[in-house]
Symmetry: none
Subunit: 255 residues, 2 copies
């Protein structure tokens, strides 16, 4: 899906920004880069240096002399813009763009059909009204109103990140089984019967040490339960806690 | 709310990255920056130049020589990390972090209560295991697995963007403020300095009972940390656990 998203840079002045754009794109799995009327040579020394290993994106980029050729085969054209100009235009957040992308690109159930262009303007003056009006939508990065100075590579980083998020969300709505706390865990979750034995043991050990008085229970065991239940103990953790309690039991008086 | 999010950079080598970090933060309205043991002078010429108008963030930053001082007053500690090391740790996406932040910070309906630290490691080697184990959660930017080379400023740009998104979403959804674990909680979260004292106490008590041999530590303390960090202890739970340990200490031999 990410190969159907095209980043288009209009009138770029600094080759370093071309390189930074390529790097930002590649970190998020985007690869289709087009320059329209760049005001510098975007695939040379400084651009290559700043791309920092993403020079393949630069080498396979295209340089065109008009925007219409760059967006001709696209089904959705989005312009990255500061808050709207004289004529208000439909405006979405990067997050909303991310949510729309899968259904824009995967129009039918089989092959991807759509192609999305995202336009970024000049370092100094952004996109012209004419360019903005070639867009279906404008996307606005909601930066700090007192300091909204994202450079070009930073803006592309944020938008590319959201594109990748959209794709990942579409993929994982399938399954995420073996995950526990968001990662592949090293131990299986504890069986509840073992957790219950742990609570019995804990209560006994705390009575033996004098910390817990069953005649005056207050909420002690309830708080211990709440704390250990919400942590979702794994099997080794139950064993460790029981081992620790046994090591204390060797010193405390038997009941 | 954004003023209660602290970005902590550990062992930064390049002043340019310090400046890029400040700029990325400021574009998203973050301002609390701490350097821990930087391997360069992070508030000087090249850093100022790269900050590009965000030099106020650098001038008000602090430089400390240990991580514990940097996170002591925080209620949630998050480490930005590549996929997990030997011991898996709870892992979330930047998006999930964004969703959690409002209820982490705005615990009660009135004043903000929480403070969140987000840790970024060295340019070359990231965060150490010891640093990662001081975290409640790890956050992983799901980059292109074949080219995950986000530089430090780009990673901070993405995370700061998500922090701002979280705040904007919270503002528009009015209230889910006083929620913690999805309900109104009865106790405030523990400050990290109190949690660290608990770990010191726990280790001492386990040594005295003979359960823990510091000469053969295996992963015992790491597993204890992982279990208690992910449960997000509240202040009373820390007091209960310390009280319980003290009750055992009365019986075990002093070291």
């Amino acid at each position: 899906m990410l190969d159907r998203i095209r980043i288009i840079l209009l009138g770029t002045s600094h080759p370093g920004n071309a390189g930074g754009a390529a790097r930002a794109m590649k970190t998020m799995g985007l690869s289709d880069l087009v320059f329209v009327n760049p005001r510098c040579e975007p695939v040379e020394g400084e651009a290559i240096a700043r791309s920092s290993g993403a020079e393949d994106i630069l080498h396979q980029s295209r340089t065109l002399d008009n925007l219409d050729d760059a967006i001709g085969d696209c089904t959705l054209v989005v312009g990255c813009s500061a808050r709207s100009r004289t004529l208000p235009w439909p405006m979405i957040s990067p997050r909303e763009l991310s949510t729309r992308l899968p259904r824009e690109i995967m129009r039918d159930e089989g092959e991807p059909q759509g192609r999305v262009a995202i336009l970024f303007g000049r370092e100094d003056s952004g996109l012209t009204n004419d360019e903005l009006q070639r867009c279906h939508l404008h996307v606005h990065i909601q930066a700090n109103p007192e300091y909204s100075s994202l450079n070009l590579a930073a803006a592309i980083q944020v938008i590319s990140y959201e594109c990748r998020q959209g794709m990942l969300a579409a993929e994982t709505s399938a399954d995420s089984d073996s995950e526990y706390f968001g990662v592949a865990w090293d131990r299986p979750p504890a069986a509840q019967e073992d957790v219950e034995r742990l609570f019995v043991h804990l209560e006994q050990s705390m009575i033996r040490s004098g910390f817990h008085d069953p005649a005056m229970p207050r909420q002690l065991m309830a708080r211990m339960r709440r704390m250990l239940m919400r942590t979702r103990l794994d099997d080794m953790e139950v064993n460790i806690l029981r081992g620790m309690l046994s090591s204390f039991d060797k010193f405390t008086p038997p009941r």
